[in-house]
Amino acid sequence: MAHGDVKHDYHLVNPSPWPLLGSIGALFLAVGGVVLMRGVGEGFFLAKGQWTLFLIGAAIMTITCIGWWGDVIKESRAGDHTPVVDIGLRYGMILFIASEVMFFVAWFWVFFEMVIFHDNRSSWIIAGDPEAMAAWANWPPPHVETFDPFQLPLMNTLILLLSGTTVTWAHHALQQDDRKGATLGLLLTVLLGLAFTYVQFGVEYPEAGFAFGNAGEVASANVYGASFFMATGFHGAHVIIGTIFLAVCLLRLISGGFSAKKHFGLEAAAWYWHFVDVVWLFLFTFVYVTPYLTMQGN
């Protein structure tokens, strides 16, 4: 984009209000979050359970996202995304996914720690609370009924794997400039994503034989439920985000937004989707299948 005296292809972005606005949104979200969960004072804005500040934050965030990414799309159309900028975007997306992987490492860490070392704990001479001892001694702990992985979870695995193929189909179709095929593939992917979310949150979760909550009140509420729901829940949240991402791409595709050569938005969405897919395979293997197979003796 050589112009005037600028003799390089990098993209010098114009000043933008979105970062500041997004930060203010984050402030509202955070304060609102604490108000929601715990309450900071009294009244409409600060008492526990009040949504006002949180929703203001969410609204600001939504506006920011739309405005920000809208600008990105505009800049892309304007040709600011030269090949070298495009490579930069790819680095950015890959690194973002890398950081997400490390986030999931934390949740798997907890899970593996519990699976592998629960024996250690019961062998400590715990001269105290028998309930705690029992919780240490077994994995999954007492009162927990795990899922049979070869029913719903297997189906969900297949749904997600299938969606991985449809998104690849969409991508390849677009590369061949087959916009119809691309649209269809993407549409199917979004639908499969929705199906996954429905099956997980709508069907599987309500059937869980363990709980997430106060250990004192629900016998089966313990760290098994917690690590199960937090790990699969964060995965589920990523599925939803990925689905939205893909849906936006679908809209852009329908409105003629991508070309056979340039469609990084779609590629990024696809990468993200594959990442979500891989995380699920780990979850399926280690959170659903392995415990089920190895714990049947318990």
Binding site: R121, W124, I125, I126, A127, G128, D129, A132, W136
Partner: protein, 291 residues
């Protein structure tokens, strides 16, 4: 070492408050001190010797060496002394040396370090088991096999003044003395189990070389074997909230006989000893190990 013939509460009190027994050694900080507290166990002696004979010379040596080099280049290669800089950027030999020599130094350190942790972490055959439970903000002690248990909290300023007014052999110390000291026998391996009822605390007695986190839901182990009778202080060593600085540890190490008396006075029984008040021979009782 004087051993009172009393086998009554009075003896217990004597053991606790030091009247009539020789609490020669003391494990406490010294004003302006720059070094470890006086070691009272073999483990702590090993820690001190590892630190003093190996680590200190090495780290002082390294620091002085770096300082000397710096001073040398400052004097020799400043702008006035050396107006035209040389331009070399490599010298394989010195690079290899300053990689290999530190490795050797570290191997030497490790060779001394590993035996020490083996000694610290291997719990020997023990005569007594002591259970220590941290809670916000006091310590609960129990000799499960002896049927003795009690709680020990910080001694208030008023109580310190009152106790010190009686001119005791061991004056009470602010933030270190407790309402009820832990009593342990000298020369016996004591196996310590440490746990907590709430947040994490840490049971630490510097002169024993012992510091073990007290964590709810798990029981940590350590051990000590005190050389000589005395009073040894420690403090909670893991931040546990507002009164973290106010849950001291006070250990009185006494002879086996006095220990037996103390146990009985606390309403416990020494294994193999006749019931309280029957006037058995404490020495024999104390000699019988619990396991």
């Amino acid at each position: 070492m004087k051993r009172g013939a009393l086998s009554t509460i009075a003896a217990g009190a004597a053991a606790i408050f030091g009247a009539g027994s020789a609490l020669a050694a003391e494990g406490a900080p010294t004003p302006g001190g720059v070094h470890f507290q006086e070691p009272a166990t073999a483990v702590m002696r090993d820690i001190v010797s590892f630190h003093d004979n190996w680590l200190m010379p090495i780290i002082v040596g390294v620091s002085v060496f770096v300082l000397a080099l710096l001073l040398w280049v400052i004097v020799r290669f400043n702008r006035r002394a050396n107006p035209t800089p040389r331009k070399f950027t490599h010298n394989l030999l010195v690079e290899v040396i300053w990689t290999i020599v530190p490795v050797i130094i570290l191997v030497v350190i490790a060779s001394q370090s590993f035996p020490l942790i083996i000694k610290e972490e291997t719990i020997p055959q023990s005569e007594y088991t002591l259970k220590v439970t941290g809670r916000s903000w006091s310590w609960a002690y129990e000799y499960p096999d002896l049927g003795v248990s009690f709680t020990s909290s910080i001694l208030s300023d008023e109580d310190i003044a009152a106790r010190n007014a009686g001119d005791p052999e061991v004056p009470a110390r602010r933030l270190l003395s407790t309402t009820e000291p832990l009593v342990v026998p000298v020369g016996a391996n004591v196996h310590v189990l440490v746990t907590s009822e709430d947040v994490i605390h840490a049971w630490a007695v510097p002169s024993f070389g012992v510091k073990e986190d007290a964590i709810m839901g798990r029981v940590n182990e350590t051990w000590f074997n005190v050389d000589s009778p005395g009073v040894y202080y420690g403090q909670c060593s893991e931040l546990c909230g507002k009164d973290h600085a106010f849950m001291p540890i006070e250990v009185r190490a006494v002879s086996r006989a006095e220990f037996a008396e103390w146990v009985v006075a606390q309403g416990g029984t020494m294994p193999g000893a006749p019931a309280v008040g029957a006037g058995g021979e404490p020495e024999a009782a104390a000699a019988a190990p619990t396991r």
